[in-house]
Amino acid sequence: MMQELYLNPHQARRRQPTAYEDLLGDSIERAYAAGVHDLAGLVAHLNRTGPNCPAGGVWTEDSYRAEIARLAAEC
């Protein structure tokens, strides 16, 4: 008997994304799509369109670096 073949579409993520993470992903992609590929521009975009920085409202370059590092490691 043939064992079932391994076909798992999600091998990288550790859990289902939260609504906040989906919104953040949407917002980053919209910034990237608009050609914003620098950190200052990305932070300004997030502050203009949201979502808010969970650490305290306004995104800064430092808070973005810390938050995205956390998400890259935990998601």
Binding site: L5, H10, Q11, P17, I28, A34, D38
Partner: protein, 341 residues
Amino acid sequence: MRTNANDPVDAVLAVGLKDLWYPMCPSSFVAERPVSLRRLGRKFVLWREASGVLHALEDHCPHRGAPLSLGIALGDRIACGYHGVQVRADGVVMSVPGSPGCKLEGAKATRSYHVREAAGAIFLYNSSVDITDPPPLNLPTELTDDVHSHFLCYTEWKGDYRYVLDNVMDPMHGTFLHKQSHSMAEGDSTAAFRVRETDTGFVFEKEGQRGVNFDWTEWADTGLHWMRLEIPYPKTGGPGGNFIIIGSYTPISENVSAVFHWRCRKVDGWQRDTWRFLYQNRLEARHWAVLEQDRAILEMMEPDANQREMLYQHDMGIVRLRRHLRNLAKAQLEAGAEKAA
């Protein structure tokens, strides 16, 4: 892929060339409990000691041929579940509880294999005979340096692994099969290709088009057979340049393949973390959808499709790769015949 029973070269390729490293499975597949993996024309048992040290033997008890994987791992050895025969990771039988002192004890009676872990996967050296020291496992730089970040995508597909090789050595299918994908909508639907030699293999590439679509494939032999290609991301992919894919493929059985793709990007700092976040959050699902397009085609190809082909210029890479592999298989057969003489 129909393997011609009367063609010994084909038979060698069907189970994978010997004396090469092959990726076997993701690292996470193997823990302390023995795991049986059918690969490369035989069954292997893999397990870990509590310290994490990894071992591989042929999944075959030297006593009566029961699968060792059904036994109990005891550190560096396995006690067969059938009669308790203990086989050490180097293939030496350490104990025959039912007949102490019998000549099986102390004999090197089971094939043992060298394994390494790297880039999230377990690699096995498919040696033709037992050896003490395998050659080094040389992976492409994308999987070993610090400037690249990567994720492994592992899948098992119905179909011969050589059809998977053909598929990757065929950049032009990107323009058609993957036209509606998130990253391959660009590029001309006609192109002239050429082959360029490298130190470790060759590149099959479109003439006059690079960085637009799936424009080239590299074949490399560094003691491990692997392929490399790049696909430009759309602007939504953000900074970090092209999406790089490293592929390596291992036969599971006649019509099942172990398919390894490492998705890589040259990124660091916040760009690296953002790519990794987006990959986990959404890009992986999109890349998966593209890979499923390939699987749908390959799994529906008749096993003997390769017997009735009419190839054209875009297939020059496939022809080149098949010829190269056949030559390696012939050399392997000749070396075996010399040894036997």
